[in-house]
Structures are given as C-alpha cells and as structure tokens.
Symmetry: C2
Subunit: 219 residues, 2 copies
DNA sequence: TTTTGTGAACGTGTTCACAGCG
DNA sequence: CGCTGTGAACACGTTCACAAAA
C-alpha cells in the first residue's frame, strides 16, 4: 500500500459518509460508478483510491456496502477514540467544544484551556475552563486543537508539543512550525473566504477590472 | 492572465498575510526567496504565482512590500465589501457571527436566519435571528454562509440560490449541488479530523495494524 | 455480461535552470 | 552581481481502456 496521497485520504472521508448513507438506505452492494456519481468524480478514481488499500470489491458485483464502510472506518482510524484538548475558549473554541461531529468521529474532548483569567473557571459542556499554564503531559492528550487568536497560535502549538500531543488541529489562520513527528492539519477559514472573494471578483459581473492605467502585457 | 489554479489563489492568500506582517515590521522590499521561506515553499513557486498576474517585481531588488500587498488585496477582491447572511444560529453559526475575521476580510454579515423558533428572536452581535422563511432576494445578499446541520444544508443552499446570492460558504460536511454560476466553497472540518486521524493511525506507533486474517496480496 | 483492478496515457501543477534586466 | 520572469523538465495525480474475474 506504499504511499497514499492526501487527496486520496480526503476522498476516503467522503466515501465513508456516502457509504453510511447508502447503508442506512438499506442497499447491499454499490458499484464504483454509483459511488462516483454521488461525489461528482469518475469511477476510475474511486477504484484507484480503494485499490491502493486492498481489493475490496467483487468483479461484476461491486462493493459490499457495510463491509467497505467498516474497512474505510478502520483505515481512517475511526474505530478508536482520541483524547483531545481544546486551547482557546472564545467563540470558535466554545463552538468546537459543543460540536457533535467531534465526538462522532472519535474525539473525546477532555479539557479546555485559555489564557484569559476571565474565561478560566467558566463551564463549557460540563468542562471547567482551565488556565493554559496547566497544560502539561500528565493527562495524556493525544490531540490538541488550537482555537486561539493568531498571535498566540505558535506559542500554543509549542506548548501542545511539549505536552506530548501527536497531532494538532489548528483553526488559526497561520502556518505553524511543529516537529516533523507531529501531524498538523489547519482549517483556514480566512483562506476559504478569500478564495471565495477571488472567485466572485473574477467571474460574471464586469470581470477583473484593472485599476489604474492600461493592462500591461508581459514582454 | 488566462487561467489561475485554485492552489495559486490559496497561496496568494498566504502571501497577503505574510506581506501584511512584513509591512508592519517596516521592511520596504522582499525577495521571492524570503517570501518563500515564510511559507515553506520554493522561491520559484512564488515567482510563478505572482507572474501569472503581472510583473510586480524588480530584477535585482525583489518586490515592493506595500505595493505587492495592495496588488494582491485587489486581486483577491478584498478592496470591497460583500453583503452576507448566515443561516444557522447554532454553535458554529453563532461563532461565525462573532468572528472578527469575517469583517476584516470585507464580509458584512447583515442577517442571521434559523429554522428553529426557539432561536428566532434572539440577538447575536446586535442582529436579531430571523426565521428562515424570511430569506429572500429583497435584501441583496451576495454571499450566504451555511452553518446548519447536514440534513438541512442542501435545502438551505437552494434557498440561498433562490435569494440571489453569488457565492456560498458551506460549513456542513456534505457536497452540495448548486448551479454552475454560483461559487461554492466548503469548509469541511470532519474531513480534516479524519485526515488527522488517518495520519496519526498510519505513523509512528505500531503502524497500520491489519485487523483479522493475513494481508491479502493482489492477484 | 457486468464491474473490478491496473498499466499506460494524459494533464496539471511544481521545480529547475538560465536568459534578461536592473 | 542579484533577483525576477519563464520555457523546459519533472513529478504527481487523474483518466483511459482493457484484461481478468464473477
């Protein structure tokens, strides 16, 4: 199974959700063609992705829905739970603590930290917000979630690494530096806003109006 | 400037943030090399990206920080404001209404909708939550943000399109169908969780433990 | 016949390396 | 000399097309 590309893992995530739906609909088998249609991709892509992990299908029949779903669940590591903490009890941090999807995917949020004394001591979903200085290796956090303002993000990342986490989910719009042994995923909403803004500016109405002078051509 | 790839636009977003920082530090010029280092990419990538839009640099000197920052701001369409509404006043929706980054990037959230009568009438950041049935074309929303549970997402997307939005920012973990003329960007946290879970499962400790029986080889 | 699994062909995005210009 | 702008080379991911299996 050598090396798996990032896009493949992301699509695996999608297949998993589709398979859950299809299983709920009671379908027993599904072809790569049908899976592909739900995702808006080609059937060859689906087969390539899946074949990177093994031979899950049966020629002439397709894939067994529940079996494939369970295989993918295991591949994604969703058949176990992770001990997670959230740093930052502001708007986003609070929303994340309450977010059902976290628990559903196997993330147990067992602590919330913040640097602001006004927030320390408050209760969020049954968890008392603790001061960031209490973040340490004793509680065995495996995953840390960064939901702080940008300026604090790198410092918090360092603290999480020192506390022994293996993975970090970063919601601050900044590229963070972590040791190679730590897995980092960043959810950068700012980038999505700007990508949307770009697309809206450069489609339909009036096009990419050039400010000042005439359009230059390259030599 | 023909066609610009999605990755290029995303990096433009990053360059913009770096340039804001560098400008604040008082630096006048910056080379593609230095810009690249901050992003962890190659200098050739930076030059290729920028040259797709014009010749912003000076050979032997580099790029003028403030000038380049302003050019990119205009390219991303950040030199204007967008009228936006948020649908879903739950945890995530509430967090987004309060999110500073929205306003900073030129998004003016001027309305919040929800389907739940218990939430309708509440106030979020000075905005009264209104019932989803009031979502219509009269207020001239240009961008709609979906912050509802998955099951409502497609229906809300349809309603936003009917209300005349040009772009949709979707926070529900589902691939939505919208007309080709509408720009859709999805922030799928679930996918990031799962990608993180995958990475953690397949690195370091014990590797990708195979459940049941021996690994099959392909024929 | 249907549909998978996969080598080969293709296309797209990244990196190299250097000509060109300040 | 320093650094940009860019064609050419390269790497990587997607799609094609078909042999193999049910």
């Amino acid at each position: 199974m050598s090396h798996i590309s990032e896009p493949t893992v992301r699509r695996l995530s999608n297949y998993y959700r589709v398979l859950e739906e299809v299983a709920a609909e009671g379908k027993r088998m599904i072809s790569s063609q049908l899976l592909a249609e739900r995702e808006g991709i080609t059937s060859a892509q689906v087969r390539k992705d899946l074949s990177a992990f093994g031979s899950f299908g049966r020629r002439g029949l397709g894939y067994h829905v529940e079996h494939l779903r369970d295989e993918i669940r295991a591949l994604l590591g969703l058949d176990r739970r992770w001990k997670a903490c959230i740093v930052g009890a502001g708007h986003i941090g609070s929303a994340l603590v309450s977010y059902r999807g976290f628990a559903d995917q196997g993330f147990d949020v067992i602590a919330v930290f913040d640097a602001d004394q006004d927030r320390v001591g408050r209760t969020l979903e049954g968890l008392v917000v603790r001061h960031i200085s209490q973040l340490g290796p004793k509680e065995g956090f495996e995953i840390g979630v960064i939901a702080t303002p940008v300026r604090a993000a790198q410092e918090v990342a360092d603290a999480l690494v020192a506390a022994g986490v293996q993975g970090i989910l970063n919601f601050a719009p900044r590229k963070l530096k972590v040791p190679a042994s730590i897995t980092l995923r960043t959810v950068d909403m700012t980038m999505e806003f700007e990508s949307l803004s770009y697309a809206l500016t450069h489609t339909s109405d009036s096009g990419p109006r050039r400010r000042r002078s005439a359009p230059r051509r390259r030599a």
